[in-house]
Subunit: 230 residues, 2 copies
DNA sequence: TCCTGTGAACTCGTTCACAGCG
DNA sequence: CGCTGTGAACGAGTTCACAGGA
């Protein structure tokens, strides 16, 4: 099937491969840091180094957005930042509610990288009466009974789930019923949600276990097939 | 090249694809939860459902470890748990040091899922004199000046980096120089490390941005190539 | 007959080499 | 001439269909 007229690489309708989307967020951070250091123009090689990838894959990733570089020269750092932000939808305003204000929820509420780049925390919700109505990072904590009302009033479009594992699915169901379709979960469980809901998981125990796997293999190099063959 | 004698699928020397390793940790959790509910035997279909994957890929993942199921029946939940744990290296003891005892470091120190399954927190380290020598979750916080001595004394083999972005690379270098080769970082930067060092990153702002990308696309269904073609 | 284990087909992602433009 | 943008080759990962043992 030939491309339709008006549908070139830079068209926002063109879906960006998931692996590219993940890397685009890294490029954005690398660009920020380069711009902070006074960089105006950057080559694919330089940006790739800063992002910890190789330059062909960076160019291929950027090509999904369109042709925003200058051949023989490189990319305008500011302009490229805007293009990536726009492609990722970071120019819209994202209203984040943190559900569960324990140690982790508190850490997130105070996390500076959270507020930057279009994400604003608009609500904190907790079940513990000792926490409800206290102030955490300039926001008053709401009671979980009022969850649905708070989500509606604040026009929350992203929820961050920091509740104990045992109530994570239940709370997730309430979020979905309240019309939330983007959830970032810190609970170490597989959440069951309808197809239209996007769930991303941040999971420290999985990451630790992956580290353990690699460390274990590094400890036993003599078990490798090559050395065993000799 | 034919397989060498003694090198079958279940041999620990056989490298497990990264994508499978990540899922194996999920199966482990799903199995735990099934066992807690009294399950003794489980089919690939049931376990796959609990883990949120399809059954062929679960069977393929398990086949990297060996043939631990019974055809026509399924898997013994306890036995399979032991086999996966062993393949991931979770039977060894992993000594974790938390570097940076801010909000996030504190949250991790108290995180129950952390201590379970072979991971034990053995040290807390911070640069803030107000925090040093205080007790956090039954451990005394050590000064960052003593980092190298603490890592050696506690025989730390995994470090968790929860320090501010600005000092993350510097602290990472010190960890590497002190002989640490497994690092879990919460800092939103690309850490430069030698090849033999494994770094895993947990990155909330990346995850949020990925959610934003999908939510943005869901908001504008009319831009899809199919509907535009009509 | 049931459900596991696995080659073979296929899809997705990465690497490469170079055409093309400034 | 330099660096971007991209088709084409390659490799990793997933799906499928079914062979094969309990």
């Amino acid at each position: 099937m030939p491309d339709l007229p008006g549908l070139h690489a830079g068209d926002p309708a063109r879906r960006i491969p998931p692996a590219s989307v993940a890397r685009l967020t890294i490029y954005l951070r690398a660009l920020n840091s380069l711009i902070a250091d006074g960089t105006e123009r950057v080559s694919s090689e330089e940006l790739a180094d800063a992002a910890g990838v190789n330059s062909p894959i960076l160019r291929k990733d950027l090509s999904h957005l369109g042709s925003y570089g200058t051949r023989g020269v490189g990319y305008d750092a500011q302009f490229l930042t805007r293009q990536i932000s726009s492609a990722l939808g970071l120019t819209l305003d994202w209203r984040v509610a943190i559900i569960g204000v324990g140690n982790l929820g508190r850490a997130l509420a105070g996390y500076p990288g959270f507020v930057s780049r279009g994400f604003g925390i608009v609500a904190l919700v907790d079940a513990d009466q000792l926490v409800v109505d206290t102030e955490v990072g300039y926001l008053r904590v709401s009671a979980v009974d009022e969850l649905e009302a708070v989500l509606e009033r604040t026009r929350t479009n992203i929820a961050v789930l920091c509740v104990p594992t045992s109530v994570a699915q239940e709370m997730c169901d309430r979020l979905v019923d309240a019309g939330i379709s983007s959830i970032l979960s810190f609970a170490p469980v597989v959440l069951q949600v309808p197809d239209h809901v996007q769930v991303r998981k941040v999971d420290m125990s999985t990451e630790l276990q992956i580290l353990a796997y690699h460390a274990q293999r590094a400890q036993e190099p003599d078990l490798g097939p090559i050395s065993r063959a000799q």
